[in-house]
């Protein structure tokens, strides 16, 4: 995909994400919007996946260990044709296949069940290790939240990834600076993610995580004997000014007309891209 096409795909994912959350009236909007550009590049350009054969063994896999980014993942999968877009509007309704947090047994195309923060990191390690042991030529992409990195399990999994040279596992840290109770740096200062991952044995870099070109370049890099960790410098709530500026934007509960305003903003941004 060209840069413009990727930007457009990211905008469409944002639009579908907000529409999805609007259907229920509330949801994890901030951390969903911060990863839309990464999802656009992964599913638009990088990952070898087939929506018609979602369980194909040698497909590339995505684990959103920040399971609450479910709405953005579902929006991406809908746009890729895994299921009709209308299905998104059942988010968190009784009996839905689209719960707040990603569930591999409910949503077609979701590769791993996540939600208890930290757990997706080890699960992704297991997926990548299993692919390696079975001689499959494919990769697992792991999305980890910056607040999520409070969890010790994240660092156990990071240590394992580098120590066992699991170069078919790519870590993407969504450094969006905020967690539920406020700023990450106020709650539990993580210091320098890039340095941390380098010290853990990764080939680490930091990119603008809301810039599809930078993401594409980082994700296109071939791993040497070290696994790759990409620190994505992002804005929580990216793409909607009011959400970006809101202090508490982890989960938002607003009136339908507020959602409509946000949807209009995303639509006009999309239109500007096309012009």
């Amino acid at each position: 995909m060209t840069t413009k096409e990727l930007q457009k795909f990211a905008g469409e994912i944002r639009l579908a994400t907000v529409e999805c959350i609007k259907s229920r009236g509330f949801g994890h909007i901030g951390g969903s919007l911060s990863v839309c550009d990464a999802l656009a590049v992964l599913y638009g350009d990088i990952m070898n996946v087939d929506p018609k054969n979602p369980k194909k063994a040698d497909r590339d896999k995505l684990v959103s260990s920040k399971g609450h980014a479910g709405p953005a993942v579902y929006a991406t999968l809908a746009l890729k044709g895994y299921f009709p877009k209308e299905d998104l509007y059942t988010l968190n309704q009784p009996g839905t296949n689209f719960p707040s947090h990603c569930d591999m047994n409910k949503t077609v195309g979701v590769d791993m069940t996540t939600g208890s923060l930290g757990q997706g990191t080890s699960e992704a390690v297991g997926l990548a290790l299993g692919d390696k042991l079975q001689g499959r030529d494919c990769k697992t992409y792991l999305l980890v939240g910056d607040g999520e990195a409070n969890e010790g399990q994240v660092w156990e999994a990071a240590m394992f990834t580098a120590a066992k040279k699991l170069t078919n596992l790519v870590w993407l840290i969504d450094w969006n600076k905020k967690q539920l109770d406020g700023f990450v740096s106020d709650i539990l200062e993580p210091f320098d993610f890039e340095e941390k991952f380098r010290a853990f044995g990764f080939d680490a870099c930091t990119v603008d995580g809301n810039d599809v070109e930078q993401l594409k370049e980082a994700l296109s890099k071939k791993a040497t004997d070290k696994p790759i960790a990409i620190i994505m410098d992002t804005v929580k709530g990216k793409g909607v000014k009011e959400i970006e500026e809101a202090a508490g934007n982890h989960s938002m509960n607003v009136a339908p007309e507020v959602f409509d305003g946000w949807i209009e903003e995303i639509k006009s941004n999309l239109k500007a891209l096309e012009a």
């Binding site: 939600g115 990191t121 080890s122 394992f160």
Partner: protein, 312 residues
């Protein structure tokens, strides 16, 4: 099922049997993976040469999550640590990544209850069965002897859900014939008597059989049942013998809260029975030789005899 119990110690150590059985499983099925948490020397797996034997280091939560991920990729993982670390330490990971997410894995918890001995109270799980009983679709094997360990390890490989195998590393008394096969949820009746029933699992099976022999000398004929799996529990068999004899005693190497005692009580609820248990009271473990701990926590055949006689 042929019962070969003679009250003498088996010369085979559980630890060696784990190593040999796992090596055979790795050779016969290329989907099998053994994960360990810096305790391969304790599980007898440290001599196996295979890229599917992986030391995860002292990180049990990560190991359990990796096991679930491996399962999702089509592998058949076993993961080992000492009992408390294969249950308490990684329970959220086993519960969600394996149980809730329907990624079948087998957890092996060695040195359950008082068999933790010199590792002491920090390593002495009297609560592991309670935890795994609360995990939907889980299967719990409390290992009695070598043939049961071999069968459980083999069976667990292709069973759905989370399997928890709790097994000491050292001595045992052979009860079942070599090559015996078992069915999860189907209890084995080791001897029959009209005066009462003892339901015992793991190391307490030997104590129950000793107690039954001692009681028989006094004219009290007891049935002894090994549930094989504490979950699923063979409710029908236990209820049948409880109803017929009217006296039921449970014996387990675990806190009476949440373990086999609780499971059996739930199974016989509503029956008019004399009921007793030989299990750990609601206390923490402590350090010492197994013989000392057996007396300390009343997990002896003498105590079973006392409880049965007290109910008569």
């Amino acid at each position: 099922m042929k019962i070969v119990y003679n009250g003498e110690k088996d010369s085979r150590q559980f630890k060696s049997v784990i190593g040999e059985t796992v090596e055979a499983l790795l050779n016969e099925d290329n989907k099998v993976v053994w994960l360990d948490a810096d305790l391969m020397g304790c599980s007898g797996t440290n001599k196996i040469k295979s890229d599917r034997v992986i030391n995860c280091g002292i990180a049990e939560a990560n190991m359990a999550g990796i096991a679930a991920g491996l399962s999702a990729s089509g592998m058949k993982p076993y993961a080992h640590s000492f009992g408390p670390f294969a249950s308490r330490r990684c329970f959220d990971q086993v519960f969600l990544a394996a149980g809730y997410a329907k990624n079948p894995i087998t957890m092996i918890g060695t040195d359950p209850g008082i068999t933790a001995a010199f590792n002491g109270g920090t390593h002495m799980p009297f609560e592991d069965v309670a935890l795994y009983r609360s995990l939907p679709e889980a299967t719990i094997f409390d290992i009695t002897d070598v043939p049961m360990l071999q069968a459980a390890l083999k069976m667990a490989k292709d069973m759905p859900g989370v399997k928890y195998i709790r097994v000491p590393r050292k001595d045992s008394y052979q009860v079942y014939e070599d090559g015996a096969s078992f069915t999860p949820g189907k209890a084995e009746v080791l001897r029959e008597g009209k005066d009462g029933v003892i339901v015992a699992s793991g190391i307490m099976v030997h104590e129950a059989l000793q107690a039954a022999e001692a009681l028989a000398k006094d004219g009290v004929e007891m049935t002894v049942i090994d549930p094989i799996t504490i979950k699923p529990l063979d409710v029908d068999t236990i209820r049948k013998y409880a109803e017929e004899t009217g006296l039921l005693v449970v014996a387990e190497n675990h806190n009476h809260i949440g373990g086999l005692t609780s499971a059996v009580q739930e199974a016989v609820c509503g029956l008019a029975l004399k009921f007793g248990y030989v299990a750990v009271e609601d206390v923490f473990g402590e350090v010492g030789p197994v013989d000392y701990l057996r007396e300390k926590f009343d997990l002896t055949s003498d105590h079973i005899v006392k409880v049965v006689k007290g109910l008569k």
